[in-house]
């Protein structure tokens, strides 16, 4: 019991800042929005019915999920060689290489997106270089659209993938690769026939974590989309702070939570599959 007693202050703060607001979020999602825009206390599913019956909502869901899925796949693909290099590096370099792979986690998201604006903008690094070489005439449009959002999201999801892959690959027995090499397999064959299958559970875990984070990403779509990219997160924000339609914002947030919960359960199911122990 003394354990719970020691945790009491933390539990109290989280109760006030977490459980109560979540309960309120659910309660307010059941309120009614009058035609005047005012909120009336009620117990009704009107906000849910209106959202679910609106094609725009389903377009948002589709756009959000495909964005998160594709950006996460790219992030895992880019993170894999980083994690493999850390694993293969000598102990002297391992710490620095791992740190470089995950340090962006602690750099403010806005700061990194400012960097991407300078890289992808009409007069940014890529366009200036390509135009200088005469490859393109008109600048490529890579910000204020889906391209910019996707690139920004890939980079912001990569450190999480690196983190998961480092943990997953660390448990992988390097002697199996050495055995394959001894038996005459070349490096490429060893990678595709031994390393990749063994790393598959870690890759899947990294991808699923990135998808969960990508679906709820807000700053990247908002800043890189330039007001032209709409996803679930930007819509919840606009409903709450621009239209001040709290029941609708709360209902959409609850739907988002339900979707994420389903994904987390899926992740739990995957982690129970045989092979994870490898």
């Amino acid at each position: 019991m003394i354990g719970w007693l020691l945790a009491l202050p933390a539990l109290c703060i989280l109760g006030i800042a977490f459980l109560w607001p979540l309960a309120a979020l659910f309660r307010i999602s059941l309120n009614r929005t009058l035609d005047s825009g005012a909120m009336e206390v009620a117990v009704t599913g009107e906000s849910y019915a209106k959202l679910l019956g609106d094609d725009f909502t389903w377009q948002l869901v589709w756009d959000t999920v495909t964005l998160a899925a594709s950006a996460s796949a790219m992030a895992v693909l880019l993170a894999l060689p980083v994690a493999l290099l850390v694993r293969a590096a000598s102990p002297r370099w391992r710490g620095v290489l791992a740190l470089m792979g995950i340090a962006p986690l602690l750099i403010s998201g806005t700061a990194r997106l400012v960097g991407w604006m300078a890289i992808l903008g009409d007069q940014g690094l890529i366009n200036v270089v390509l135009q200088g070489m005469g490859v393109i005439g008109e600048p490529l449009r890579m910000i204020n659209n889906w391209t910019g959002v996707r690139i920004g999201l890939v980079e912001s999801l990569m450190p999480y993938a690196v983190l998961v892959l480092l943990a997953g690959l660390g448990r992988l027995d390097g002697r199996l690769e050495e055995a394959a090499a001894t038996l005459g397999a070349n490096r490429v064959r060893t990678f595709f026939r031994v390393t990749l299958p063994l790393a598959a559970p870690a890759l899947l875990a990294a991808w699923l974590l990135d998808v969960v984070l990508g679906i709820s990403a807000f700053i990247t779509p908002k800043l890189m989309g330039g007001g032209r990219v709409f996803v679930l997160a930007t819509e919840i924000y606009d409903l709450a702070l621009e239209s001040v339609n709290w029941p609708a914002a709360a209902a959409l947030a609850m739907l988002l939570l339900a979707g994420l919960l389903a994904l987390l359960l899926l992740r739990g199911v995957f982690s129970w599959l045989p092979g994870r122990r490898a």
């Binding site: 945790a7 977490f18 060689p81 980083v82 493999l84 960097g115 390097g174 490096r187 919840i236 947030a253």
Partner: protein, 262 residues
């Protein structure tokens, strides 16, 4: 096995993607031009000067610094005992407690921010110091608990047992033996929770007001409207600050250790 050249090339691409934004921010923050264009027409420190004399951003910086200090202190004081319990004590429901204290990190900050707004606004606590502290503690406490649990678990149990044998009470042993030995971890936890609060953007977006705003929120709004080298100078300052903090944590307990979920 030694990394092949192919692995090195692909890993270099990965690192390039991770490092490119910070590199560009560094170059363009010293631009002499008016816009975020590449290459800069010349180099100067004019945007750092402009940043230092920007009243809105500087007042937001003050707010964020005070807020992050308060949040780090609250998170350590509230999270420390909980972390000690999870790392050291055997009691029914220990796993449940650990899961409860980590739960807020599972949910999107956007939803957390919205939920907080819905309860704080009717109470008149939106855009106030207590509201902001509460909102930041929501993400800072789970962080502090996780890092401090690792730190406490790393102190050998035998030291405490030896103190008991020598007649110390459990409380005295915890305070005089385990706590000092876990001190580097506690400082690392303080530094990281400070950074978590100092960089927190999304929850704050819901809880700030015209008279009380944080630096990440003002930076977000600035970047949303205009992209000039001033924002690069601010971004570079924040990156340099985060880099310094990460170095401190690395010296104290190993950054990967602190961030890992073991």
């Amino acid at each position: 096995m030694k990394p092949t050249w192919m692995l090195r090339v692909f890993a270099a691409i990965g690192y390039a993607v991770l490092m490119a934004p910070a590199a560009l921010v560094l170059v363009l923050s010293f631009s002499a031009g008016e816009y975020l264009t590449f290459p800069p027409p010349g180099f100067s420190t004019r945007w750092y000067v402009a940043l230092a004399s920007n009243g809105v951003l500087m007042s937001a910086l003050g707010t964020s610094a005070i807020l992050a200090s308060v949040v780090a202190a609250v998170a350590l004081l509230a999270g420390g005992p909980a972390a000690y319990a999870i790392a050291r004590l055997e009691f029914p429901g220990r796993g449940v407690l650990a899961a409860l204290l980590a739960a807020p990190l599972l949910l999107p900050t956007l939803v957390l921010g919205l939920a907080l707004l819905l309860v704080l606004q009717p109470l008149g606590l939106a855009a106030t110091w207590p509201g902001l502290v509460l909102g930041h503690c929501l993400v800072a406490i789970p962080f502090a608990v996780r890092i401090m649990t690792t730190a406490f678990a790393a102190v050998p149990k035998e030291l405490e047992a030896a103190a008991w044998t020598l007649g110390a009470t459990p409380l005295r042993a915890a305070l005089r033996i385990t706590l000092p030995n876990a001190a580097p971890g506690a400082i690392a936890a303080g530094v990281l929770t400070f950074l978590v609060s100092f960089d927190e953007t999304v929850i704050s977006l819901f809880l700030v007001g015209p008279r009380l705003s944080t630096l990440p929120v003002e930076m977000f709004r600035y970047a949303d409207q205009s992209a000039d080298p001033l924002i690069a100078a601010l971004a570079m300052s924040l990156i340099a600050f985060a880099f310094l903090m990460v170095l401190i944590v690395e010296r104290l307990m190993g950054f990967s250790n602190a961030m890992g979920r073991n």
